[in-house]
Symmetry: none
Subunit: 412 residues, 2 copies
């Protein structure tokens, strides 16, 4: 079954609100195994709503409208749809009574224009609205199913879940669609793409790469006749990805790099301290976004000036002068220094040139040194991250977390 969503609302075309109803409906429809092929947004204009509806009827069987069910003159979704389908509007007496009761409870007379909210196309099913005065409408007119929903999410969401979803589940029959997102760090989008080119060509499951912040995500989507079959299809591809990209895969779905590292630290009963120069607090901020991070994160030092590196972290002046603040030696001294200072099991040190100024030929903007210190070892690496200041900070923080993740995994 091909589906599409048509939102009616000038406020979306003015950019005043985002079309979150379409996102919600698409996600729900996908989980019912119904493919959504189009989203359209049109203003509160009869001709354009009519035109959008005609285009939709020519290509889809399920058409869901959102918005334009209010009492005012520019709310015209119901009227336009009914006319296009040749259905007369009839007064729904029960809804009219409900509306009157609602206004009576406010000690106000019902405004006369609200009567139109109780009009329903002949033969259609009224969808009860628990959170507003506009009922939804469910129309079966072969070959189409047309559903009209109110625009406000607090009315639309429960109406869809409680009243529409059960009806569609019956229609959609037995197909189940599920997705899983596999998350990769430390490898660029095209490099990932090369590794999985053949999988991206497949039809079921599909594999779609997506660059997300400083990571690459691969979305596996499968269709099957049962939950079990669908999951099995996904797992097979997931295992194949594991074979190809193993150490670069850090998690799935709701995982974030900082959550995964936190879980590994907590599982091993280990603690962490960080010393940051170019990331300037970003790394500590990410780590402490995770609820419960106080169990394993002792704290950090944002050592922005050389004086702080010396005085607080104990980095030697001679080392700073000989190798420069951006060097593997200084990163190591920062990692060891903060580990010792806070008495942590692991210490991370990050120093680099975030830009836009401060770069030189030998040490350009984007050059970053990362170090990890633990019991009896301290190692470091130098990486180059292209991009602007905030990207350099973000990529450096992610790479530092990944360095620790790799260490913790080796210990497992």
């Amino acid at each position: 079954m091909r589906a599409e969503v048509i939102a009616v609302g000038t406020e979306i075309l003015l950019g005043q609100i985002v079309n979150s109803d379409a996102r919600f409906l698409s996600e729900e429809l996908a989980s019912l195994g119904i493919d959504v092929y189009y989203h359209t947004v049109v203003g509160d204009n009869r001709d354009r709503v009519e035109e959008a509806f005609a285009a939709a009827r020519a290509r889809s069987e399920l058409i869901i409208f959102t918005g334009g069910l209010g009492p005012t003159a520019d709310d015209l979704t119901k009227e336009t749809v009914a006319e296009a389908l040749g259905l007369e509007l009839k007064l729904d007496q029960a809804w009219l009574e409900k509306l009157k009761g609602f206004y009576a409870s406010l000690n106000r007379p019902m405004p006369p224009q609200n009567v139109k909210q109780a009009l329903i196309p002949r033969g259609a099913r009224l969808l009860y609205n628990d959170n507003g005065t506009a009922p939804g409408v469910y129309i079966e007119k072969a070959p189409w199913t047309v559903i009209l929903l109110p625009g406000p999410p607090r009315e639309l969401i429960p109406m869809f879940r409680d009243r529409v979803s059960p009806l569609l589940r019956e229609k959609a029959g037995s197909v189940t669609i599920r997705s899983r997102v596999v998350k990769i760090i430390g490898m660029g989008e095209s490099a990932v793409e090369e590794q999985v080119a053949d999988l991206v060509q497949q039809q079921n499951p599909t594999v779609a790469p997506l660059a997300h912040n400083f990571e690459v995500h691969l979305r596996i989507t499968a269709k099957g006749s049962s939950e079990e079959e669908t999951r099995a299809l996904i797992s097979r591809v997931d295992e194949e990805l594991g074979r190809r990209l193993g150490p670069y895969i850090y998690g799935r779905d709701q995982d974030t790099l900082e959550k995964v590292v936190g879980r590994l630290l907590a599982a091993g009963g280990m603690t962490l301290a960080v010393a940051e120069s170019c990331t300037g607090g970003r790394l500590a901020d990410l780590i402490t976004n995770v609820p419960g991070s106080s169990r394993y994160f002792l704290g950090g030092v944002a050592a922005y000036s050389n004086e702080v590196k010396e005085k607080v972290l104990g980095v030697e002046k001679a080392l700073l002068e000989a190798e420069g603040a951006v060097s593997r030696g200084v990163a190591e001294a920062m990692a060891s220094g903060v580990r010792r200072l806070l008495g942590a099991d692991y210490g991370i040190g990050v120093t680099g040139v975030a830009g836009p100024d401060g770069g030189t030929a030998a040490k350009p903007v984007g050059l970053v040194c990362l170090a990890l210190a633990g019991e009896g070892f301290c190692r470091s690496r130098e990486i180059f991250f292209p991009g602007k200041r905030e990207a350099v900070k973000g990529r450096s923080a992610a790479a530092a977390l990944n360095l620790l993740r790799q260490e913790l995994l080796e210990g497992v």
Copy 2:
């Protein structure tokens, strides 16, 4: 000029992301005086992109595509649009060199499929991408203007503002529309709205309130027949806002709170150090997002555990035991401690309950103590911020910056 926005991306139709690009573009186009009549979303499918483009050409003069400009096989916006307009794709040698340079800087060969990102329809203008490998494309083919933009907002937003907006401003012709955003901190959205209710009713300039992160922004938009007239209209309203909201207004347009505070520090030749508990590095991260912040920011300590507060910042154990880690006393000791430790002119201390756990009846989630220490003074306040963990962190960091801003302004 009729405009519409076509987003190409299966992830939107699956409900995995919301179409925020369309919202952004609509708002920007509205401020240029260009009417947007449709949004469409189609998947990464050549036939459907072609069909959507044909429908758009039949009804609009300005057509903006988002997404589908990546290096992979299912990125096909550019190819489809070029073919529909009968334009051959040509290699842009300069962009190819840029791509090669980018990969060379990573010490990696450029994946062969990335070459297609350097292909541009003949006669089109390449739109430079400062934040990614996909350039945008600007095509004039009478009667249409067709613009292709990359999907990720961090690439699309600056490209539109810096490269597309000036071109469209010229086309939009003789009416000048200008906006100015007045930025407010320390006052809630409804409180601001009450103060400006009469201005929001006006037609020219319009005043639109917008909650943005932990701030309230008021966008003043004026239409006039000249740049001068438009600016005068805006300035009159801006001055009125100054009279009503004076001390709560921290800046305008591109200003951020951290930039404004940085300018004030730099102007006074003053330095800053921060001690963070509940914000866990967020404050230092914000401060160091500003290029050149090393001139006034010495560093910070994320003191997540009580041991760190004692050992590194010198907060007394007796104080921690008597008042608890979340108290004005401890915030003051942290502020003074970090100021002394790093030898800064100002020290900030932040401690609070970020949640979701750790709250008590006396000290609930959202309770935050902020302190500012300077030469001969140290003062603090207790604030309650409702919201989730990340919101509590963000609001606390913003309030801490605002505390320092007020101090620096009094000194002026």
